[in-house]
Each structure stands twice: as C-alpha cells, then as structure tokens.
Symmetry: C2
Subunit: 122 residues, 2 copies
C-alpha cells in the first residue's frame, strides 16, 4: 500500500487535533439530545406556533385542532420539548401553558424560517 493511502497529509496539516475533537464528548451528547428533540416536523411547527403567539404561550387546547392530533399526542411532543430545555410549562387551573425558555428564544427564532427574527431580517 503506498504511503499516500495511510497518511495522505503532512502530520502538521492533519485536521484532527491529537488531543481530540474541539467539541468534548459530554457537550456533544448534550447538544445531540437537543437536536433529537428538534428532529420532528410536528415539534418544529409547535415551536413556531408558540414563537408567533401574541401572548408568547400556548396550551394543548390551542394545538390539537391545527395539527389534527389527539391531546395525548400533542402532550407527548410538548413534554419532549420541555425535557430538552426548550419550553417552560406553567400549570394554571385545568390547563398547562407552554412558553419558550427565555434563554432559548433567540436560538429558536434563529432556527425557524418565518420566525420574528427572520421576518425582521427580510
């Protein structure tokens, strides 16, 4: 096997740092969990509804009709978004209300086409 196949670049030019990747495994695992929560189209649409809401929040009852889904199915998606640290849950009376976690508002707005920040930049 020619040398070029085992080490095609000068070691000084190698892309990989001998100390390991710049992103530590523990950080990569945390970030991957966040993206897993975002890897579902219904959850992205739920975030877009909450982001665009004039009150900044929504309850399950707001979401079952536009998504043609049962309340348990919507609740499951909402719980996944809460567990991922994207939504806050506030129980008031018979219903729970969901809003974007303040630290994540800018992150979510930057991700979603048609969100407030992207409308402002257009």
């Amino acid at each position: 096997m020619p040398a070029a196949r085992t080490r095609p670049v000068n070691p000084a030019d190698c892309a990989a740092d001998p100390a390991g990747p710049p992103l530590a495994r523990v950080d990569a695992e945390q970030l991957a969990r966040l993206f897993k929560a975002l890897s579902d189209p219904t959850r992205l649409q739920i975030l877009s509804v909450i982001e665009a809401s004039t009150t900044g929040e929504a309850c399950v009852c707001d979401l079952t009709e536009p998504f043609s889904m049962t309340q348990p199915a919507i609740s499951h998606h909402l719980r996944t978004l809460v567990d991922a640290g994207l939504l806050n849950r506030d129980k008031r009376g018979s219903w729970a209300w969901y809003s974007l976690v303040p630290d994540r508002v800018a992150f979510v707005r930057d991700l979603l086409p048609g969100s407030a920040s992207q409308r402002a930049a257009a």
Copy 2:
C-alpha cells in the same frame, strides 16, 4: 365539563392561527431532516474537527484515530452529513476530503460550543 376546559382563552387570544402553523409542513420536514443529521454526538464532533481545521477540510483518515472508529463507520457519518447538505465531498486521488458547505459555515459555527464564532464572542 366547565367551559374553561374546552376553550380556556378568548378565541382572539388563541395561540394557533386558524390558517395553520406559521412554519409550513414541507419546511418543517426539511428542517427536521437537518436536525436528525445533527442529533448524533459523533457527527457533531466530526463537524467540530472540520470547523476547527486550519485547512477547512478533513479526510476519513484524519478521523478514524481520534474517534476510535472504523473507516466504514466514519464514512457512514460523513455521508449522512453530506446528504443533509452540511458537508461537501471532494474526491482527490485515493481519498475524499470533506469541508463545510459555504452556506452552512455560519449556521454550524453558531451551533457548536467552542467554534470560531463562539471563541470570537467570548
């Protein structure tokens, strides 16, 4: 059942637009596929290696050792990132070299803790 359980808010305050969620289903599905590609810690670390590389690219041979993975396993992750529109693949001689798709450089840098843009902001 009290009225508050079936419609707890004034319809004018309802979070969901009767025309449907602001994020269209086709856009949500496309975005969900992107986040699915990012929902794996090894793929995030591979992106961080390429983002931090002085040459802006890496080949499979750069990545097998730091990740203690076989070349086919690394190649599978790289193919997923190419299919998601995050990496370009450039075959030169016996090896393929991978770099961030120019349109996605800022997106990836904003996502990764410790990336160039986050180092600049720190």
